[in-house]
Amino acid sequence: MSLSRFSPQEIVETIRMVQMENLDIRTITMGISLRDCAHPDLRVSAQKAYDKICRLAEHLVASGESIAAEYGVPVINKRISVTPIALVAESSAADSYVLMAEYLDRAAKEVGVNFLGGFSALVHKGMTRGDEALLASIPEALAVTERVCASVNVGTTRAGINMDAVAQMGRIILDTARRTADRNGLGCAKLVVFCNAVDDNPFMAGAFHGIGEPECVINVGVSGPGAVLRAVEKDGQTDFGTLATTIKRTAFKITRMGELVGRAASEKLGVPFGIVDLSLAPTPAQGDSVARIVEAMGLDRIGTHGSTAALALLNDAVKKGGAMASSYVGGLSGAFIPVSEDIGMIEAAGMGALTFDKLEAMTCVCSVGLDMVAIPGDTPAETIAAIIADEAAIGMINRKTTAVRVIPAPGKKPGDMVEFGGLLGRAPVMAVHTESSRAFIARGGRIPAPLQALNN
């Protein structure tokens, strides 16, 4: 067998992507069904969940590390997603599921994962008793646990938007921020409000193990904004067709890495391989920024006119390249534009080039939505609810996943900087509209499903 199978250029390209351009496997996420952990006594249910997670994920972290060594590709996070807890805990008579969150937190610590997602409820058309108990438990659960992430799906293209749930989420987000005020409202960084949530998303904080999923599954999230940036920069001033091709080629290679790691992890753990999520997920590290890719296309700063078009091209090319590279693509797949986790976004928001409204426009074409956006601590609950309603409407009408993860940073005003630390980064507080949305949110009820959903 000759080395000529690979040219030195190819080998160096791979090594450079990993070592200099921050290409990494962002997460190996094990999805675990907890449907068999329901019990009339919440404590028994929580214990069953704890035992099952510890049993199935016992080797998750070690496997991730051994794969990283074998292939020379960093595996940054090992995580777990579970069945939406509202479904699991509802059989119990309990009114609060905080106890369950504490057991999940302990399980996450026991197996060594940094986040566990699925303290969740799907309430796009209405709420059951279990959903109500879960929503009521969110602020305390996020304040007393460290690694548990919560998400609530408030709308879908087929069901419309549950505006009662939207109004309630506005209050829950404020309450969560208040209870974690000593940490700049960090609890809200672990809470996502979705429209069209997906069942197999490996990324936090919005991961949960959907109801159509198998008993246990391995999903992989890959990331490599740095590698795409470098390819775009190297290409120079080409036309848009060439630009799209360059991004597709790079996304293809990045996704192949995810496919390899997903298969290897699946084999090592004896668990079926679910999907590769080919998202460009930025980190605050220099050169690991989605904003910089948009800027490299020829814009002075992300947020200026042209940013939505640039992001649309990027998001679509990433999907096209990735879809060819993996047998199963899923999750959110596209380009994330979190503010606090992307150095280019932080700068643009700080200098005022990127406003809240432009950010919302850009979420129409990015992979998720308003992500890790710090807003003033005195923002009324109705305004937060209205922000959620706007974002959910974009998702509902465009048949895409949208989400809101905003942090009303206690005591902070527009322009202040809020530190979250680590991968969560830091964010300048962005101004939101001060004109009231109160009467609109107070209407209650549901926004009906749009006509395009009735196509079967």
Binding site: L3, S66, A69, Y71, G72, K253, M257, L260, R263
Partner: protein, 109 residues
Amino acid sequence: MMAGPAAVIHSDRVVMPPKSHRIIVSVIGRDRVGIISNVSALLAAAEANILDISQSVMEEFFVMIMMVDIEHSRAPFEELKQRLNAKGEEMGLKIDAQHEDVFKFMHRI
């Protein structure tokens, strides 16, 4: 003549191709005397078989790449990798070992 029954692909389980025993050892840094001899000696000591070597200068860096068969190596992969990393530090170079699949997946379909 018909071939045998077509292979059944189970859609719920993605199967890894049979695992090869080949790794790619890469050396990146400034060129200096003794790189090949040092790395080959280390591999020979473990009875890891060098199948191919190529070297070139790329973007101001010296790059040497070896394809190595570790099927009969006395040191397991992790240990070999650690020894190579350490040798790299000693020589002021970046030396790493990766399973060949990572390159196969990225550059070949």
